[in-house]
Amino acid sequence: MADFIIEIGTEEIPSNMIPALVGELEDKVRARLAEKRIPFEAIKKFGAPRRIGLCIWNIAEKQPDSDETLLGPPASIAMNDNGEWTKAAEGFAKKNGLKLEELKVIEGPKGKVVGAEVQVKGRTAEEILAEVIPAAVDSLYLPKSMKWGDGEHEFVRPVRWVLALLDTKVVPMNIKGVEAGNTTRGHRVFGKEGAVVADPTAYFDTLKHEHVIADIEERRKKILRALGDLAESVDGKWHDDKPETEELLKSVIFLSEFPSVVLGEIPQEFLSLPTPVLSTCLREHQKFFSVYKNGIGSKHEILPYFLAVCDGPRTLGETRTILEGLKNVTIARLQDAKFFYEHDKAVKLEKRLEELKGILYHPKIGTYYDKSRRMERYARELAPFFSIDPDVAAKAALLSKCDLASLLVQEKEFTSLQGVAGGLYAESQGEDPRIARAISEHYQPVMGEDGKASPYSLAVTVADRFDTLIEFFKIKETPTGSKDPFGLRRAGKMVVEILADASLYEGGAKPKVSLEELARRWYGKDCPELLEFLKERLRHFFENAKSPDGKSRFQYDEINAVLATPMNNLIDMGERLSALNAVRQEHREDFDALGVAFKRSRNILKGLPSYRLDPAKFLPENSKEGVCERELHKAYIQIKDKAEEDIARGEYRGALRSIATLRPHVDKFYDEVLVMCDPEGKDPQKTAVQQNRLALLERLTKLFYKIADFAEIVPRES
């Protein structure tokens, strides 16, 4: 057993690429070592701005030996009529280092050939690593690659050194034109070049001595600890539970080789800026964390501090110098932000509407002005479903994109404030608070302190995303495979989640909106592709629903059964699915059997017209068939009214329990009765009996189709 390390030393790799690169490197090396049948105990990946690599602990010194059959030329050429080996056989033996005595005739896939059974010595780990590592590096996916120097090699950034050690020995290999050696490089400023690494186990300590923490997790912990301590020192916290803050953390871990954190102050005059503007400015311009007042709640009140992650070990005096510099830049940035914000605040949002005519949404779709006008209409039409004031909803939608024309949002660093900025301007201009909130949240509705989303925000969000879907489906720019350049899947997901997630409306009005009807009305006609697309999003939504134990809540066939009904009210679909799932668990066998029976009915009924049900036409009770069909009909009549009533009242469980009682009658019917008793239609009397039976099956199917298509239920194997 031996340990191995590969470190690829580079110029600074973009921080967001390092995790993916080392992750993929590990996967590729693992796969290749498995292919080469060389065992090892563990792989540890590491990465920092100037290095990516792997440690492979306890790798076998060589592959196991193996038996192989070598195949040569056909026996007809390799052996003469006297059974002696010919020149061809001698050539084959020589090429493979075999003696003539070792050759024999072997039945190969294409007939008899000369060949030999040989034992192949396993190759050494050194040989295999020298082959596998450069190949794995060459196969890495590079989202953006570059060339340097003479332009012969391509990688994410220039490769400047390679460390490759198997225990104490250098494994000769060439990566991107650089020969491997036994040295690494320390921190750019605080470490030395050419630090010798004794063996793989010494790597991390050697580097730490040179002021580099190569271990990703260790850097992460160091940063987290320092952020926490410093925030606490001013009675604050640094995390605001926002994804952007998480992203920033991920990025700073890979922006320094030896992180240290400093706490700086923000001049009081900038605290008049709204928190989102202030924290976005610090984050996007400077990669700083903001500090918030301690306490729970969705509101994050900012404190006049920032936290910056620096690279290198620091003494107090140096920290002061750095902070002075950081503060200078920060003030300049904040001055810009303040200028933009104050300027924008003075321009009424409505006045910006005209400017939207000059901002293109998509060349084939038109400007943001056009989009705003459509959204205005959609929000108005959605208002009744959300039980909200149509005028207020329409105005919120109309103004929601106006901040795109503001100075602030047009700055690259503040584009992420789209919506939020508009909300702030609306608020400061005395706009209706419902409108301000909807503008602010229409990219991502937020739960209020009451734990509920604002229905105005939800309506404007749906109007926005639905418009996006309709317009891109109109110009046929729809997602294919992994390509979804306009984020339509995300938009569809948002629409479906808002319209299907009953928990958003707890205690409030649930929208009674028909998705199919909206799509038809806004698209101008039926668009099956759009409906199919939305159905897939809804399927994902149901599939992702979890029960309290963390498992998927619904079975796939239950989802299929509900999705086979029209996509009208999505919350109602969810309720039907829950009921089906629950009642099915009580009556498993009944539902499995009904699933089979309904599938049979569906197949029989396919393509046939509706017939009139006439109880007088059932066969008399003196026949077995007559008994069965009459019993089924009776059972149907018994439950019909109550089931319909239950369905109308949304009491799906009751309705489903009724259907479960039908099972023995349905089973018996199919066991005893031949529905298609006159397939050729030759005997008018029999034809009437057949049509009557079809009519009964159709009634049964239709009764429950309002809940789900039971033909989709697949019996469980148990």
Binding site: K144, G149, G151, R157, P158, V189, C310, T321, A332, L360
Partner: protein, 288 residues
């Protein structure tokens, strides 16, 4: 206090010591040192080259009437290009900072990804913005393509923002407080210019005239290039590019027209590069 002119002297001294030819600015308006023919043409083709020069850069949209402490319509770059890029170019660069008087151990240094792209030049590169205590002091770029042509060998371009660096060195937050030499401040030298050119760029420039000039420069550029005069031809490409920037600042370009104008300037740049490569016998002859 290190003055602007002293910093420039040190920059020249350092890079001359590294074997760079010290060139002078090109006498036409431009937005970046990259557009100087010294870079634009020299990065093309296989011949090794190394030069360094100061380049005054005009960016009409950055004008703030001489009132913003950090944004100006015209600033100065110190441009270094080396082809092929040497193995230790980052280390050389860091030594240059020390040579200007920066003790790197006392500051926070980061190379943050920043890929440079100049759509009007058909050029892009990969590299970083070098951050010192949060201030961007340099653009560091490995040129990958210029004038629409792949570059091999690869040129490295180091662009120092002279004012930024000088502000950093002196711990000064306001550009106008810098000293050009011992007697004159940056404000003495530049504030009035900033004011007048901001007025010019944002409100006084004659839109009609500039629009006409754009078309004329474009036509003249193509005519000259098709006569294989790539140097004078490229001058008109630079002029068209600057005219575009003025019109843009002047608010005279609509969203849809903007893309079209950028495309037209790029066409001129690509044809200029092509004519240069033709003259070197590196590509087949073809007129635009």
């Amino acid at each position: 206090m290190i003055t602007i002119q002293e910093l420039i002297r040190k920059m020249k001294e350092f890079w001359a010591g590294e074997g760079c030819l010290i060139a002078e600015p090109y006498d036409l308006e431009k937005g970046a040192g990259t557009m100087n023919p010294e870079t634009f043409f020299r990065v093309l083709g296989p011949k090794p080259y190394a030069s360094a020069y100061v380049e005054p850069c005009r960016r009409p949209r950055d004008g703030r009437y001489g009132e913003n402490p950090q944004r100006v319509e015209k600033h100065h770059q110190f441009q270094v290009i080396v082809k092929p890029s040497p193995e230790d170019i980052q280390e050389k660069y860091l030594r240059s900072l020390e040579f200007f008087g920066i003790d790197l151990k006392k500051h926070d240094l980061k190379f943050e990804e920043d890929n440079w792209e100049a759509p009007t030049l058909g050029a892009w590169g990969v590299g970083w913005q070098v951050m010192l205590d949060g201030t961007e002091i340099t653009q560091f770029t490995y040129f990958q393509q210029s004038g629409g042509f792949e570059l091999k060998p690869v040129t490295v371009e180091i662009t120092y923002g002279i004012e930024r660096l000088c502000m950093f060195l002196n711990r000064i937050g306001n550009i106008y407080d810098l000293h050009w030499n011992e007697r004159f401040t940056y404000g003495d030298m530049r504030r009035e210019t900033e004011k007048q050119f901001s007025i010019f760029n944002y409100s006084a420039a004659n839109i009609e005239l500039f629009g006409k000039w754009f078309n004329e420069c474009e036509a003249e550029c193509v005519r000259l290039l098709n006569n294989d005069l790539y140097l004078p031809g490229y001058d008109f490409c630079l002029k068209a590019s600057h005219i575009f920037n003025v019109l843009d600042a002047r608010g005279a370009i609509s969203v849809s027209a903007r893309q079209d104008l950028i495309k037209r300037v790029r066409r001129l740049a690509i044809l200029s590069a092509r004519k240069y490569l033709e003259s070197q016998g590196l590509v087949e002859k073809k007129n635009g």
